[in-house]
């Protein structure tokens, strides 16, 4: 049984007064534990929509996502939130950091809803920040950080609860070459620890280490 599986996933967006837009049509995919999957394709091909469905950030119009054999696409809000909290970590394209919180607080945020005490929580967040090379920037607000640094804070937040699967949406798209290299190194480290990676990217650097590349075009899986 695969760790993560998408079966006949379709996602339709209905905008008022307009024809429906099919972001995904009958996409099926499978990710094994400890593998690196890169989802590639041109802009608007449905890469981020597929990631959102696999990460239970959105619900498919039809089809299902199985995690360890359990269908989470139409599970309750509670089950989906538990899945996001315990099994996965997500890095968003636009970082999605809370602007009023420091880097350390942003990283520790997912741990607030666990039974971890404040000191332990901060210690764990500090370790993660150190792992992504940002220990010295712990007290900085997101607006005081560069794009690459924000991306690494987002990575630290996604990894703070040690998830089985890491989803990353265009993790190197908005940052310079040096920062992209650092992010890639971190992702390699995650893979080396036996975690599963699902990366949305059109960066060729992300295709090389992948065990599997899913190419989407116009909402369909082409290879």
């Amino acid at each position: 049984m695969s760790l993560l599986e998408g079966q006949d996933l379709c996602r339709k967006y209905q905008l008022s007064g307009q024809d429906p837009v099919w972001a995904l049509r009958d996409v099926s995919c499978r990710m094994e534990a400890g593998s690196w999957t890169t989802i590639a394709g041109p802009s608007g091909s449905g890469k981020s929509s597929l990631l959102a469905l696999l990460a239970a950030l959105d619900r498919p119009t039809s089809g299902k996502v199985l995690v360890g054999g359990e269908n989470i696409s139409f599970a309750t809000d509670v089950v989906q939130a538990r899945y996001r909290r315990n099994r996965i970590g997500i890095v968003f394209q636009e970082y999605q950091l809370l602007e009023q919180l420091s880097a350390l607080e942003n990283v520790a945020m997912p741990l607030l809803v666990t039974n971890m005490k404040g000191k332990t929580r901060r210690e764990r967040a500090r370790q993660l920040l150190a792992a992504v090379g940002l220990e010295a920037r712990a007290a900085h607000l997101p607006r005081q950080l560069s794009g690459g640094e924000r991306q690494r804070v987002a990575l630290a937040r996604a990894l703070v609860h040690d998830p089985d699967i890491l989803f990353a949406d265009e993790p190197t798209s908005n940052i310079d070459q040096k920062a992209a290299r650092q992010v890639l190194d971190i992702l390699h480290g995650v893979k080396d620890r036996g975690r599963t990676l699902v990366i949305v990217s059109h960066d060729p650097q992300m295709l090389v280490p992948a065990d599997q590349v899913l190419t989407l075009e116009d909402g369909r899986l082409v290879s």
């Binding site: 809000d77 939130a81 996001r84 809370l98 997912p110 809803v113 005490k117």
Partner: protein
């Protein structure tokens, strides 16, 4: 448990982080709660003073029936009442209104100052008057001045004492004269507007019962109107209840109007809030976790809002003497009262103001928060 502690701390930090939004909501809460707490404190203060007056007053108040109202009662009745067992003393009193210059003033004619709560001095002698301080200021009277009531230049009075407004709410705007002078002034010699009957403890009801037989048809006089202390308390209490009830009803209406206003105001920063909720949900927070933090924030806002409202109400009433709110509860007092406004801060209005505040903030935030929390995070984040 640790999780709830974490969320509790997070709620406080969130309020401090979002100072602008918290400030706007607190400001709205104060706008709604401050008049309520202040008005309730004044109402309770007046009620307490009335209750004190009744408690320290006579056991029975006797007047004659006159078209369903209190009418003058003959002084000949005093002997009859004094002979009833249990009666310790009977004091006649005249309370009326007449003109002082162009103003109608309350004149009390009495020979025992003890019958007026808080006034334990000797009663004024013939031709002497005790004048309430604020009335004296208004009429430009000082100790030693001579004056007469509008239509009675032949009956002059000398101001021998100014009654401090601190004694009781009513003393600052009345004139106390000798009972005999009052008989002359109101041209009803041999009559009082009421007889104050003081009894031995536990005998008032039976004395009232015996008195009620005086004035039966065979007596050929109008029946007596007998009010016991208990009855007066009930009347006064009911009066205040109606007044407070009316105020509460008006307030509930205003409260109802405040909800949409607060809903609009709480939209201040809602876009950012919605995105935050999306991010929290995406990083594993449950809908209940988000709602718990929101409830805790509201709890703090309501607690802070009601505490601040009480503090400001204390300042408003004790330091600013209830400028602008006194006439709503004390007839005859101006917008800037010239006597100390009685005020009492009781636990129930404080609790009510907290509950008002909590329900206002809850109505303003809980539904939008819940809606954002149950929407897929992808939608709320973007």
């Amino acid at each position: 448990m640790q999780k709830h502690c974490n969320l509790f701390v997070e709620a406080i930090r969130s309020l401090l982080r979002n100072r602008g939004r918290s400030g706007v909501v607190l400001f709205c809460l104060l706008g709604v709660l401050l008049p309520f707490v202040t008005a309730m404190a004044v109402a309770q203060g007046v009620r307490y003073q009335s209750s004190f007056s009744i408690n320290s007053g006579a056991d029975l108040y006797i007047a004659r029936e006159q078209y369903g109202r209190n009418g003058p009662v003959s002084l000949q009745l005093i002997k009859k009442i004094e002979n009833l067992s249990g009666v310790t003393r009977v004091v006649p009193r005249i309370v009326g209104r007449t003109y002082l210059g162009e103003d109608l003033v309350v004149v009390v004619g009495v020979d025992e100052m003890k019958t007026l709560p808080g006034l334990n001095t000797m009663a004024p002698g013939p031709g002497q008057a005790f004048v309430g301080k604020s009335l004296a200021e208004k009429a430009d009277l000082a100790k030693g001045n001579e004056f007469h009531f509008g239509l009675f230049p032949a009956l002059p009075f000398t101001v021998v004492q100014l009654l401090s407004p601190a004694l009781s709410l009513w003393s600052s705007s009345m004139i106390v004269i000798n009972f005999h002078d009052a008989e002359q002034l109101f041209k009803r010699p041999g009559y009082a507007s009421e007889l104050l009957v003081y009894c031995r403890p536990g005998t008032a009801d039976s004395i009232a019962e015996r008195l009620s037989s005086i004035g039966k048809p065979w007596e050929m006089v109008p029946p007596l109107r007998i009010q016991t202390k208990k009855l007066v308390k009930q009347y006064v209490g009911r009066g205040f209840d109606i007044q407070s009830g009316l105020f509460a009803m008006l307030y509930v209406t205003a409260f109802g109007l405040a909800i949409p206003a607060l809903l609009i105001l709480s939209g201040f920063g809602r876009g950012i809030r919605r995105r935050e909720i999306g991010i929290l949900k995406a990083t594993g927070w449950q809908t209940l976790d988000v709602l718990e933090v929101t409830c805790m924030e509201n709890l703090f806002l309501a607690l802070t809002g009601s505490s601040l409202a009480i503090l400001l109400a204390v300042i408003w009433l004790k330091l600013c003497n209830g400028i602008g709110i006194a006439p709503l509860f004390i007839s005859g007092s101006g917008w800037i009262p010239d006597f100390p406004i009685p005020a009492r801060f009781m636990p129930m209005p404080a609790l009510l103001s907290f509950l008002f505040g909590l329900s206002l903030t809850m109505v303003g935030t809980i539904i939008p928060t819940w809606r954002a929390a149950v929407t897929p995070p992808l939608t709320t984040m973007n």
